[in-house]
Amino acid sequence: MQDEPTPTELIKAVADFLRNEITPAIKGHNAFKLRVGINALDLVTRQLALEQGGDAAEAARLKKLLGLDASLIELNRALSEKIANGEVDLQTPGLAEHLWQTTMDKLAVDQPNYASYKRELGK
């Protein structure tokens, strides 16, 4: 067992330091790069918090939709193949809901400020 603090706590501490202490001192192109870097750390924090629950729910939906048991990436490969060859489409019960939920879960980690995501959250 690894000891405390957790990865999330460590990353948050670093991101907060960069945000609060370093950002005011940096100008020009490096200020832009610093912002990208802080965004990356924030993204990792969100992924650490949300990934497990999201992946488990996605795998459960895929198993039901496809009627097979495999790793998450294999399930996604199987679904991709079925969509590509037309076996499954938007008329297939559960497909649209699955794609929407999976995509919303991705955006919650990747870009929670993306305008389309915020609009869809309100639905």
Binding site: A40, L43, W100, T103, K106, A115, G122
Partner: protein, 328 residues
Amino acid sequence: MIEDQLGRCVASWYPGATGVTGAAKLSGGASQETWTFDIVHADGSVGAILRRAPPGYGASPGRAAGLDAEATLMQLAHDAGLPSPRVMHVLTPDDELGTGFIMQRIEGETIARKILRDAQFAKARPILARQLGRVIAGIHGLPALRLPKLREMSATKEIADLEREYRSFGWPRPVFELALRWLRERDPGPSKEVTLVHGDFRHGNLIVGPDGVRAVLDWELAHFGDPMEDLGWICVNSWRFGVIDKPVGGFGSREELFAGYAEAGRKADPARVMFWEVMGTLRWGIMCCGMMQRFRSGPDHSMERAMIGRRSSETEIDLLRLLAPRGG
């Protein structure tokens, strides 16, 4: 050092030029660079832009039109009265600056967030969509006989290219599969009309001033194809920068864009524009994935490229909003 080379180059074709100052690189990967500089002249200095492939980087990559073609297209657009910089000089081997061209520098803004939010563009925003409709119609109407050699694209070819690129990543994306299937099923086939297509007509490649659009830049992806492609590409949600209810670049409506297009004597086909908007959304998503791949394989191992990989999910939600919209 580049100032000395530029100074010698400029002196050979600009009467009275005594040198250049303020040379600064604006952007550039390994194979293509953009520089800004001022030509020193007794009558006052003149702003100029160098766009070049440095010596040793002759050939342009796969889809690129090539710098000579870009120069020809910009000059043709300028001559036709479209907002385009005047090309001042096409580089020759004697210039020892590589291949490319020097053009007039046009003052204005290319950063979308500023164009969409800053007070100085408040009067430009409501007129931009219609204006750009007229401009893109002008581009589609450039005299075919004078155009350079360019690749010819069709919807069918574009779908195949996108699919090949996506499959090369080896990473399953069911939403992209859905979009590819949707596009294949609705492929309108060869366009009745094939024209010059700018290929990257969107924020970042448009210089805007308080008075509206001042220049169209970056003809790197120009080709022959379905003119509706340009109208669809500028409506892609990724170029709305948060103002998602204004489909044209976050500043205007499709109706205004189409009205401007019609004012210049051309007719938009809304269904076909929508088809190209879906294609464009998928295209940007696959481009984001491609940047992630280049981050992994080097040479550009930057945070920015890595993080762009995490923006492809933005195009997935936009594709779902287009193909499987939810109520509410």
